[in-house]
Subunit: 430 residues, 2 copies
């Protein structure tokens, strides 16, 4: 752990530097696989599934029997937990629905905005030891509320050709329309170009390793949208003497166990709190099954003491954390002042885990400073905002002259003509 | 003009194919200039301004005197037109403001969503013969309503070192905080990395030629967001015998004058209407100052007859036009059924020009089929959606067990611990 006292603003960006990755090597591999999937379709999917997942499959689509089998394998305890989480996620994202916004900007000029669902979306769920069924909930629930017609889920098969039953259960529960046992770059390429086994989609959501991240970036060059650029997960906690050191330590550790490159930061106006949290981390870390990972991340963590809350807030906005926990006497000050953060957790009984799983907020959030310019996933991520307008004869008479003058000033005579013709037509009839 | 009768769905994508561009050559140039601006700052800005704009400037920032001079140069007629347009754009985008969305998903678990402005944004406005001051309105007005702190505008200087006065007037009127006389790739690179003359921004908006488009794409690799990927402008009109052929022709021509690669499409269930529009185009096109451009675009235009409105709607959704004009007896059918379009114009007195300039809707819209997965620019484009949560002791008791079970099933013990510790703490006190 690195304790830093009262750092000057000039060095904030240095001490809060995120790990940078070189993607050039990966990019060549990703481009090659994309080219092959584009050209050869399922033949390329089979080849790379064999290479990366070590298995040959006859059918990539998960069958109804496989889903039923998975449902049977999940304990009723886990089912109930998933259902509770789903219910909260559903409530919070349903509340985000918006009505048509309609106004008459000038008499006879009616403009409105409506949101319509993106028709075809793809969800990528990584495989491996930690089956991220919670991410299935976070992406499929709002997609279903939005009204997306096709919700395709891709996830890599294990060595026996299966997908983790909790992932299948969650997908089944949340209205996924097709589950495909394909992972990695080949899955993203498949959803980009479409193959007989994998439908082409318009937007791809979900986490993944560096290969998947680069593949999603490349997909955008072929007309597919993505949820957001990705980076290692991060947590910043601001805490003072009203915080409980063991709670703060447990939250920092829950971030640290994600990966060795996780960013773990504590900012405080209290040196006493910093010391107490440091001690608690040492105790709690020994009990963790993933302590090797957590120790590496904690080694790079920063415990930053600052003089006052004003400085703390500036530093936090400068960093733009993905997760931001506030355990402070002045929580209102931080809530009102924070402009760059993905999701904010307030008070001693609001651990990040709550938002990761079951409170109802989304856990797909901007990392890597993207909280400065990107939203976390929300209902609107699955929709497009469209505008409509209907102008009456009176309306075009009211704004027609302005359009003619502006179009002429921009040198666009045909734009002007479209109005002139209509005004003349009305004039002749009056 | 290409008349096509009753095309089968299998060939829709072929006949509605958009012009594709190769960007590989451009990419090398763009990458080089980015590297140089990143390393040398204003020195590189000066070099490329000299090369591309043929001028050396001492100061890149537009001074207060230059703005005052520009205001003096604009006719009062044009000022009034711009003010009317601004007023309508302001009304429509203000109406898009949203309140905090707050719900208790479970007793003691309060979640809310709030939007906060992106703090620093950049607007790119191309130079050249057609000064796009209307685009200044479309971008700066919602940015100001959103509350963006820094609104930087970059536009190339002409041979005398000036920016068109209408652009300066519009920028001044709409709260732009800094106007910089730098254009092209070097402007985008400057806003990406920041130089002494050009502030670094978090998101870049605005149109541009192929070089600017590729530069904006590259900017996203350095953490900057962009409004949307760009392509040539396009208009699709669906019209039947209730339409006025001369109006339809004038709208198609207003699209055609944009550029030789503009996409101009008419879909109709009436052969009579198609023939009448064709004749009207021949007449009107001869009067246009930009007729050389318009003729090229019209050569590639498509006049498509289809059997019925159902087929027409499917074809239109398959294409996903940027601008969609409906002049049909069945306008409700099209309004309700359209899912892929940027902006929709309804009725005989609603020309695309209205939305381009003064009705109040935004004219920065998804082209190239991106209407399937991207919104046009709207108030939310200048904001980020953030979530907040506050959980009480009762709240964590209500959802804590579900979190523990899910975290354990995902193999994330520290996530579980963060809840267990809190539940234990409450238990010990009860």
């Amino acid at each position: 752990m690195n304790k830093i006292d009262n750092p000057k603003p000039e060095i904030w960006s240095e001490i809060l530097k995120r790990p940078t990755k070189t993607i050039d090597d990966i990019e060549i591999t990703v481009k090659e696989i994309f080219k092959e999937v584009q050209k050869k379709g399922d033949e390329a999917i089979a080849k790379y599934t064999s290479i990366f997942d070590g298995i040959s499959l006859e059918n990539y689509e998960v069958s109804e029997e496989e889903i039923q089998e998975a449902i049977g394998l999940i304990s009723s305890e886990l089912k109930e937990a998933i259902q509770l989480a789903k219910s909260n996620i559903y409530k919070f994202h349903s509340a985000q629905k918006t009505e048509r916004i309609s106004i008459e900007t000038t008499e006879g000029v009616r403009c409105w905005q409506e949101k319509r669902p993106i028709q075809k979306i793809g969800l990528y769920i990584p495989g491996g030891t930690a089956p991220l069924f919670s991410t299935v909930l976070m992406l499929a629930v709002p997609a279903e509320i939005a009204g997306c017609k096709e919700i395709v889920l891709c996830s890599p098969p294990d060595k026996t050709g299966k997908i983790n039953p909790a992932i299948l259960y969650a997908a089944h529960l949340c209205g996924v329309t097709k589950i495909v046992k394909v992972g990695g770059i080949q899955a993203i390429a498949g959803m980009t170009f479409g193959t007989p086994s994998i439908p082409k989609v318009y937007k791809i959501f979900g986490p993944g390793n560096q290969f998947v991240t680069v593949a999603k970036q490349l997909a955008t060059q072929f007309g597919v949208a993505i949820d957001m650029p990705a980076g290692p997960s991060e947590l910043l906690i601001v805490a003072d003497d009203t915080a409980v050191p063991s709670f703060v330590a447990s939250d920092l550790l829950s971030q640290a166990e994600h990966g060795t490159d996780s960013q773990v930061i504590l900012v405080s106006t209290s040196k006493k709190l910093i010391d107490a949290v440091e001690k608690e981390i040492q105790i709690q870390i020994e009990e963790l099954p993933r302590k090797v990972i957590a120790k590496k991340a904690i080694e790079n963590s920063k415990l930053i003491w600052v003089e006052n809350d004003k400085i703390a807030l500036d530093l936090i906005n400068d960093y733009g954390p993905e997760h931001f926990i506030i355990c402070s006497e002045y929580d209102d000050f931080y809530c009102n002042g924070i402009v760059n953060a993905g999701s904010v957790f307030i008070g001693n009984y609001t651990p990040e885990s709550a938002g990761d799983y079951a409170s109802g907020t989304n856990h797909t959030l901007p990392t890597n400073g993207y909280a400065k310019n990107y939203s976390g996933v929300n209902l609107d991520s699955f929709m497009k905002s469209m505008t409509f307008q209907k102008i009456t004869e009176k309306g075009i008479q009211n704004i027609g002259k302005a359009i003619e003058i502006m179009a002429e000033a921009e040198g666009l005579q045909a734009h002007k003509n479209a109005v002139t013709l209509r005004l003349k037509n009305i004039g002749e009839r009056e």
